[in-house]
């Protein structure tokens, strides 16, 4: 039998898009956590009777990302029978009635003045500044070992007729 073979072989490679690096999720995770905490603080603090009518107002001064997260995810929720209403405030001392006021880092410098302005109002003041409880804030976000936690002042809250529940106290890193 005649030995016959002819081989034409070519080895080549074509690029393919099998390997793709993942896309980074560009999220401000602090804003997600703070917004969620603000919502839960609202559920776990008891306001005096006169504050239990109308909408439940959460105001945000500074920190656009926290405001946006609250508007997007929590605006339709309720605190008891009250509908949540989220408001964005400019850096001002002219603050209308609200149940919760979050003062972002950008507005840290006017925090003492804000506290003074709201001294007799049943407004839970949540801040993001070191030593804020001593200045009169009720709850203050802190970072410990990369974790976002909070400290609270029962006294500051009680002075404004705000009652802080035991669950909130048990999760606080420090209580004054």
């Amino acid at each position: 039998m005649r030995k016959r073979f002819l081989i034409i072989a070519a080895l080549c490679a074509i690029s393919a898009s099998f390997q793709q690096v993942p896309k980074l999720n560009e999220t401000d995770t602090s804003a997600l956590i703070k917004a969620s905490y603000l919502y839960h603080f609202s559920k776990l603090v008891d306001w005096p009777a006169q504050a239990k009518t109308g909408n439940f107002i959460i105001s945000v001064m500074g920190s656009t990302s926290v405001y946006q997260e609250l508007v997007k995810k929590y605006n339709a929720k309720q605190i008891g029978s009250q509908q949540i209403e989220v408001r964005k405030l400019t850096k001002t001392l002219n603050i209308s009635n609200c149940h919760v006021l979050y003062v972002g880092k950008e507005c840290e410098d006017i925090l003492p003045d804000i506290i003074k302005a709201l001294k007799n109002e049943p407004t839970l003041i949540v801040s993001d500044a070191s030593g804020a409880l001593k200045k009169g804030a009720d709850i203050n976000f802190i970072v410990e070992d990369t974790k976002l936690l909070f400290e609270l002042s029962v006294k500051n809250a009680t002075d404004k007729d705000l009652f802080i529940g035991s669950t909130l106290k048990s999760l606080a890193t420090r209580i004054q």
């Binding site: 490679a13 997600l32 956590i33 917004a35 839960h40 976002l148 909130l168």
Partner: protein, 298 residues
């Protein structure tokens, strides 16, 4: 992963009938093969290699290899998981082991290389589909490719192919996970395990370091996006703690990616976000400034 194209013009490639004495039944099988009667040829050659003399006949195994290769390539259209492909491989390997005079070596090697590349291409095809039910079969096909290449070229290194394969597998597993992250946690693990295999082979692989980092960072960020659905502040505390742990895992791998290639904008952006979310705001700002600088230089 790249698809290999190994073009063998199978219509022109015929078995080498090199020996003086060839079993008549092998001749008969070869004749059927040449006429394109592949199933009949297979039946005939199976009888030969099962016979006392035939089972040690390198020529018979060689012809058998070609018959099954063509069944796989022509009748089965190079289907994945083909038994004929397996039989062809087994036949060519047996022929090589029996071929003491090495008269059939070149043809056996070429045919085995073709079959090996086919396994590689099957693996690529499975990866490209990234189907939740079939993706793991890519591993089997790649291992068969590796096994054949090692058999043919014992001294060659397949490290770069291994890296390419595991990166591609990681991508496929990740895509499967991303479709239903709540129900497919095991694919998150599999994707990261594939990246760890790459890092084991090549610790300075940029893509593996970057992907591993982003994988954990995204997991943390994704978990936090579930926060609005939580009923209790205790859940918020638990989810945020777990998420931060994921983001912490991401940091050293992104730092390594940045060290490997400081000019890559992806690593700079990655560090900016990871550091920011770990509350290292000063360091994050430096990366943000660097990002702006790099983008202005583009």
């Amino acid at each position: 992963m790249r698809t290999l194209i190994y073009v063998l013009f199978v219509s022109l490639l015929l078995p080498s009938l090199a020996m003086a004495q060839i079993d008549d039944r092998t001749q008969e099988a070869y004749g059927l093969y040449k006429l394109g009667m592949l199933k009949d040829a297979a039946e005939k050659i199976d009888e030969v290699v099962e016979s006392k003399n035939g089972k040690t006949d390198a020529q018979a195994w060689h012809v058998r290899g070609f018959i099954y290769k063509d069944i796989y390539a022509k009748l089965e259209n190079s289907a994945i998981n083909s038994k004929s492909q397996e039989e062809a491989v087994r036949s060519f390997k047996t022929s090589m082991e029996l071929d003491e005079e090495r008269k059939l070596i070149e043809m056996n090697q070429l045919a085995l290389k073709f079959l090996g590349v086919s396994y590689f291409n099957h693996a690529s095809e499975i990866i490209d589909r990234h189907n939740v039910y079939t993706i793991d079969r890519a591993n089997d096909n790649y291992l068969k490719y590796k096994s054949l290449m090692t058999f043919l070229y014992p001294d060659s290194s397949l490290k770069s192919k291994d890296v390419e394969f595991h990166l591609a597998m990681s991508t496929a597993y990740r895509k499967i996970y991303d479709e239903e992250p709540q129900n497919r946690a095991e694919f998150f693990e599999k994707s990261n395990n594939s990246l760890l295999m790459v890092l084991d082979l090549d610790p300075n692989n940029w893509a593996a370091n970057y992907s591993y980092s982003v994988s954990f960072y995204n997991k943390g960020a994704r978990n936090l996006q579930q926060l609005p659905n939580t009923e209790s502040i205790i859940d918020v505390y638990a989810i945020s703690s777990e998420s931060m742990r994921s983001i912490e895992i991401a940091l050293p791998f992104m730092l390594k990616a940045y060290e490997i290639d400081p000019d890559k904008i992806e690593s700079i952006k990655g560090l900016k976000w990871i550091l920011f979310n770990l509350h290292q705001e000063e360091e994050s700002k430096k990366m943000s400034d660097l990002e702006r600088l790099k983008e202005s230089q583009r």
